[in-house]
């Protein structure tokens, strides 16, 4: 059952024996290959589908009538068109923000309840990670086509672009400090240049992803939260306007890439 954990352990044990960096990279590639036909994220996807169809909340209804942008109840292909502007909330929303909206409007949860526990911890599942995995998987193989046409989508792009370059804090870091050049690494971790379509298309389309180092699925919201942690910023608010704006900025360069989520990452 926890075969992924076992494999991760084996891989971790092997790492110190391999010297040059390329060998490590090769091993990681091989590991990826091994899991390619059985990404542990499949389990999150299945649980997410169950949650999507389960009657829950004060109104005891499922999420099946949730409008993810293509109309109520349409999940197929919806993730490939996110983030996008939603007239009912008058906001640009990513998948997690939109799922929270549906939990409030359809199921009757309070906003705080709908957003509770966004990131899992050992022994504590996150429904959001499962739901986002399910919705993303329903766009597998489709091309990302996040719209940047509505004035609020264009505004979000501009805000995202500015925040991407905004240096602050005790380390003077901005997103661009690590994601501004191709072929760079932190330690052995390769870094995408997020304004480069080649890099962005590969990276943006593979979130959510099962993260081997964390033994769980993580979402794009978590990725940004984790980046800001590393940048010595405070916790980024879950589904905050800045987080969605940064996703719109990334989506602009990632558009045209093929969705292959949930992915598998270090």
């Amino acid at each position: 059952m926890r075969i992924d954990r076992v494999l991760a352990g084996v891989l971790a044990a092997m790492l110190p024996c391999l010297s040059p960096a390329q060998d490590t990279q090769k091993e990681i590639e091989r590991y990826r290959q091994m899991l390619a036909e059985g990404n542990p994220a499949d389990l999150w996807e299945a649980r997410g589908e169950g949650l999507w169809k389960a009657r829950r909340g004060p109104k005891n209804v499922s999420l099946e009538q949730c409008d993810l942008g293509l109309g109520a109840g349409i999940v197929k292909g919806a993730y490939a068109r996110l983030p996008r502007y939603f007239p009912d909330t008058d906001r640009v929303q990513d998948v997690e923000s939109r799922l929270a909206t549906c939990r409030v409007t359809l199921q009757g949860f309070k906003q705080e309840e709908a957003m509770r526990n966004p990131f899992s911890a050992p022994g504590r599942h996150s429904d959001m990670e499962a739901l986002a995995s399910y919705v993303a998987a329903e766009s597998k193989g489709m091309k990302l086509d996040a719209p940047i046409r509505h004035p609020k989508e264009i505004e979000a792009f501009r805000i995202g672009e500015q925040l991407f370059h905004r240096r602050a804090g005790p380390h003077d870091f901005a997103c661009v400090s690590c994601h501004g050049e191709t072929g760079k690494r932190i330690r052995l971790q390769e870094l995408p240049k997020l304004s480069d379509p080649g890099d962005a298309q590969k990276i943006f389309t593979t979130w959510p992803a099962y993260r081997v180092s964390q033994g769980t699925v993580r979402t794009m919201q978590h990725r940004l939260y984790d980046c800001y942690w590393q940048m010595r910023h405070p916790q980024m608010d879950y589904t905050s306007e800045a987080s969605v704006a940064l996703m719109v900025y990334m989506a602009k360069f990632a558009n045209g890439g093929t969705i292959n989520a949930p992915g598998l990452k270090r």
Binding site: R167, D172, S177
Partner: protein, 203 residues
């Protein structure tokens, strides 16, 4: 009165230079402030308020025009503080530990008594024994072997770590000394790691 007025105007002009943000730019600043509301207030205050270097480098996307770059380098060179002892070369063994250690100033780092690390290997190749190194910064392997250990080199390396903006405006590298991430003494250990003939960097 006239002096005060002209001083006020001058201050306004300087402030205007720092924050040449369009209305859209101001909106992004507001979005930023509203997106970090649940964490530690002190941390939030520190990232909300950019200093002049951060604001200018953000505005010019790390490629400032020449006169702005010169202004940054000049103002940042004035921040350099060397150890009172005059000793710039510490212990390379301690330097190696600091170069490995990424602890400090993240919102999950609660122990204010534990010294911060420099996490130098995240971005630089340094001692050849460590193969897990990043490539955002240049390789520092053989740094002392190539440049010697003279006082001028020591001063250069110390200054570069203390405040890299003093020699290269809008460098990606953090201002470890000026921003209070590392102490002066810790920086002398890093100087030794790069320059000491006994350091594995120069073997």
């Amino acid at each position: 009165m006239k002096t005060i007025l002209s001083l006020t105007v001058a201050a306004g002009l300087i402030a205007g230079c720092v924050t040449q943000l369009s209305d859209g730019g101001q909106r992004a600043e507001q979005v930023f402030r509203e997106s970090f509301t649940h964490g530690n207030r002190q941390m939030a205050a520190r990232v909300e308020q950019q200093d002049e270097v951060q604001a200018l480098c953000s505005l010019y996307r790390n490629e400032p025009p020449r006169e702005i770059a010169a202004r940054i380098e000049q103002s940042q060179a004035a921040t350099l503080r060397y150890p009172a002892s005059g000793k710039l070369m510490g212990d390379w063994r301690q330097g190696e530990k600091i170069a490995q250690d990424g602890y400090g100033l993240r919102f999950t780092d609660p122990d204010a008594k534990r010294p911060n690390g420099g996490a130098c290997y995240n971005c630089h190749q340094i001692a050849p024994q460590e193969i897990s190194f990043g490539t955002i910064g240049p390789s520092l392997y053989r740094f002392g072997k190539l440049r010697g250990q003279g006082e001028a080199v020591q001063k250069y390396v110390y200054g570069k770590i203390y405040n890299p903006e003093s020699s290269l405006a809008c460098s990606n590298m953090p201002r470890f000394g000026h921003n209070g991430v590392l102490t002066g003494e810790q920086i002398t250990h890093l100087v030794a790691l790069l320059l000491d003939p006994d350091s594995p960097v120069n073997k």
